[in-house]
């Protein structure tokens, strides 16, 4: 497969995980502009595990996801009671705090005669586990696709379960959900934890894909895009955010039809979709209609 195509598909898979993490929070009515914080935390944690502690890839990714989940839970516990824009601002503030903390973070130790590890604003290079094990970009793409597929299957299962119904109830009307006996706070914190884990997993995979992660990766742009993917693709199904990523990275970026104007086109598209379809292309109604067609009840 063409090297560029492999790169584009790999990016779609990584950003798909971050988009799913923002989508999970949108389901419970929380708008987060801070998913990049967990992406960065996951990237650094998994990178430290393989590059400095010589862990193998899978335990390192699990470790990164766990640290991301822990950080998300720590943020969610005091802030998820905030509504709408207040939670969005809190999540953004947390992400900026994380970015600045990573700019100050230095943890360098000697590995094989070289000094390695996070070096403040210079970032964290030499995350070479994938490269040194001879895993080709094509094979790494397979791993990324497998992780994304597992995440999508888990979402599909969750959305058809009572948990999924409860999460959507919380997102629609938390007071009504509480009256119905849904433990609103507990489920919100659970969703935040899972969302942090997903974003951190994306960060860990990205760090090993590029061999490099740095504080600038924890930029607000990533958080805004993560939310925008869900809003464009639709909030009716977990395939919605993925559709948003495919549209942006696959079509706008991959084809380079719009070259330097891509971000303007993307911004305009978000505004247009929000005006015409406030819950995205694959919103609940569209998903319901598609499901009926597949069941032969159209």
């Amino acid at each position: 497969m063409d090297e560029y195509l492999v790169g584009v598909l790999s990016n779609i898979a990584v950003l798909g995980l971050v988009a799913l993490s923002a989508y999970l929070l949108l389901l419970v009515g929380a708008l987060s502009f801070g998913q990049q914080a967990f992406f960065g935390i996951g990237g650094y944690a998994a990178g430290i595990a393989t590059a400095l502690w010589s862990w193998s890839l899978i335990p390192a990714l699990v470790w990164g996801a766990a640290i991301g989940g822990l950080a998300a839970t720590a943020l969610a516990a005091p802030t998820l009671r905030l509504r709408g824009v207040y939670f969005a601002v809190a999540s953004l503030a947390f992400a900026e705090m994380t970015r600045i903390a990573l700019e100050l973070f230095r943890y360098r130790i000697e590995v094989d005669g070289d000094l390695r590890g996070p070096d403040g604003t210079q970032g964290f290079r030499e995350i070479r586990c994938v490269f040194e094990n001879g895993i080709t970009p094509g094979e790494y793409l397979l791993i990324l696709c497998a992780v994304l597929a597992v995440a999508l299957v888990l979402f599909a299962w969750m959305e058809r379960s009572r948990l999924g119904v409860a999460l959507r109830m919380i997102g629609t009307d938390p007071e009504l959900a509480a009256v119905q006996g849904v433990p609103v706070t507990r489920f919100r914190v659970l969703a935040a934890c899972a969302s942090g884990m997903l974003a951190a997993l994306g960060g860990g995979l990205y760090a090993h894909l590029t061999t490099y992660v740095e504080p600038r990766n924890v930029d607000v742009m990533l958080g805004v895009h993560a939310v925008a993917y869900g809003l464009i693709g639709g909030l009716g199904t977990a395939f919605g955010p993925l559709l948003g990523v495919i549209f942006d990275i696959g079509l706008l970026e991959g084809t380079r039809w719009f070259a330097g104007f891509r971000m303007i086109v993307f911004g305009g598209l978000v505004a247009l979709v929000l005006a015409l379809r406030p819950r995205g292309i694959l919103d609940e109604r569209a998903v319901h209609q598609i499901t009926r067609i597949f069941r032969g009840k159209a």
Binding site: G7, I143, C145, A146, V153, E214, L222, E253, A259
Partner: protein, 138 residues
């Protein structure tokens, strides 16, 4: 409907399982291949604006990180990613060609926008390495 979800689950598990043998095969291939040189590369990069908008002519000097000797006869590929939006602005990797001077290579990059980029220089041959070089393009 339940059967469809089961099929989706089986497909996902199959994907995970198929990726494992591929990795094992690759590892075995790497073990049987001649030991790659352990030395890493150090890169010095300078770029100047090209004739077309957002194109840059880059000169890459590769030296052995420890020996300091020029890395000659290597296959060098240059890609770029924008750190502020990881994975979203991907530059099509281009092959760098030797300039004739020892350890010096040149490549023409076509970026999507101005700003800070992380160049990913992949070196294969006598030295096998990935070097990240961050620089600003205005």
């Amino acid at each position: 409907m339940k059967r469809e979800w089961n099929e989706a689950l089986v497909t996902a598990i199959a994907l995970v399982m198929t990726s494992s043998p591929v990795l094992a095969q690759e590892r075995a291939r790497a073990e049987n291949s001649p030991t790659p040189a352990k030395e890493k590369a150090r890169a010095t990069v300078s770029c100047s604006a090209g004739a077309e908008k957002l194109t840059y002519e880059c000169r890459i000097e590769l030296l052995g990180a420890k020996s300091g000797t020029p890395v000659t006869g290597a296959d060098v590929t240059v890609g770029a990613d924008m750190p502020s939006m990881p994975g979203a602005h991907n530059v099509k990797p281009v092959k760098a060609t030797p300039t004739g001077e020892p350890g010096a290579y040149k490549a023409k990059l076509a970026l999507e926008m101005h700003g800070e980029w992380a160049l990913k220089i992949t070196v294969t041959g006598r030295v096998r390495d990935v070097v990240i070089h961050r620089m600003r393009f205005d």
